[in-house]
Symmetry: C2
Subunit: 280 residues, 2 copies
């Protein structure tokens, strides 16, 4: 009997919560409720904020995604804040390190070690511009996963990802190429490779779902960035890989007052329900 | 009078040292001299190692590059080790944060803040797959710089960087596109944008030097990875942008004994001399 793959663990959590929602923790000290920042230093305020958000939303969350840019910016406290936040999340909930790492094989092994062995994240996001040896070390940890950037939802996402190569957009070439890295002969853990595809390009989402129907997908860009839930559901209807729809600011900052956690719970629950039909 | 740009500061340091050498600090705890690891814990050993390497090599170094993967892997001590290492490097020597960051604008601003405002690095490496808003925040800090990944020297570097678009390799399209981001109308600091181009693809180095003759270049892959100094010098002969040739392992681990710092100095000095002709 082999241990479950990352894709299987994520699917199990989604079935248990009837949720596709990934809650993105992007704790911006400038946007935390005033009562937290006035009572604590920045690091303590972020810990208190994250804990309250997690406790309020965990029932609606299939997964959490920690944006490492916001943790790093806490300087000497960043590691402690990261660990304190991770300790608040129940073990059954997959947690993604969103750092978009991508470096030569030797460096990538160190990044994967930090992410999976030291911090015990379940998955991470990676950038594939440097090719196979920059991604492979993240696929070698049984039960863990990596979401490779394919089509992103930001304004600059079209600068390179949509250029045409052999009659297809680059993001599609990235997905096709990466799928070959996961083949059994290449010694990668099955169910470890997923893709990041923004909700703002539904055509790209549809193409990638067709190319990689079993792969986990991480979909940012619903809500604030313009994507909408029903289009996403339509685009992923075929295929069996677990899909996460990420929302960060719309949940974290649903209210700037003392009721921020209740407002976050409500926002998360509303998103969960708008997507739950996909699991039935 | 405007403050000098990153390119100008780097050129000044190169003229002062007659050096194109960038020394890459990739401190792997498994490869440190035994007498350091037996006397100290991992974090202290890395600090002692970095200090000794820097003191031995600073006369031959135009710049240092800290590979963040190796620092992060020190866990809760990583921030202190980073700061202790940076404090050892004289202010006149440009220091590059090699983290290959690349995320949407809001996250990229946090990464740039950590890099330039908190840690006071002079430059960093960035990955451009997510396009202009993922790179721009690194170009907005006067006197600082960013090296955008163009053509990398690792085995997977050819997976995507060489695909043909409009009759040219993707890396060339990346360089052309990024140069437009630096135009005055785009409010970027002049002399802030550079490129990473590996020494293992001399044809790519020649093309990028021609396209961006004034831009700083960071060139890994000489020595261990197969590139050779005279080919690099030939390829960069035209153009005026400051060029850094990076060497990491061949300098750091030139000896595994108590003479590791002297051996590092010798390796750095040998590389400096093999390249110095380019500055005369």
């Amino acid at each position: 009997m082999t241990a479950p793959s990352f894709a299987e663990r994520l699917s199990a959590r989604q079935a248990e919560t009837s949720s596709l929602v990934c809650i993105g923790l992007d704790p911006d000290p400038q946007r935390l409720p005033l009562h937290l920042t006035s009572e604590h230093n920045a690091a303590q305020a972020v810990i208190a904020f994250n804990r309250a958000i997690i406790e309020a939303t965990v029932g609606a969350a299939a997964a959490y995604k920690l944006n490492l840019a916001f943790f790093e910016a806490l300087g000497s406290e960043s590691w402690n804040v990261l660990q304190a936040t991770l300790n608040t999340i129940p073990k059954a909930v997959p947690v993604i390190a969103d750092g978009k790492r991508g470096d030569i094989g030797n460096s990538a092994r160190f990044y994967a070690h930090t992410c999976f062995d030291l911090l015990d994240f379940d998955a991470c996001t990676v950038s594939g511009y440097m090719g196979r040896d920059s991604v492979a070390p993240f696929l070698d940890h049984p039960g863990r996963g990596a979401f490779l950037l394919a089509r992103t939802s930001n304004p600059g996402g079209s600068d390179f990802q949509k250029i045409e190569y052999q009659g297809r957009p680059l993001y599609e070439h990235v997905v096709r190429t990466a799928l070959a890295w996961e083949k059994p002969g290449n010694n990668r853990a099955k169910g470890s490779l997923g893709f990041v595809v923004g909700a703002s390009d539904i055509e790209a989402l549809r193409r990638i779902r067709t190319l990689a129907p079993d792969s986990p997908l991480l979909i940012p860009g619903v809500g604030a960035q313009g994507g909408n839930s029903s289009d996403v559901l339509e685009a992923i209807r075929e295929g069996s890989g677990p899909v996460l729809v990420n929302s960060s600011r719309a949940i974290l900052y649903a209210s700037a007052g003392r009721d921020f956690d209740h407002a976050a719970r409500q926002a998360a629950e509303t998103l969960r329900m708008s997507l739950a039909v996909a699991l039935s």
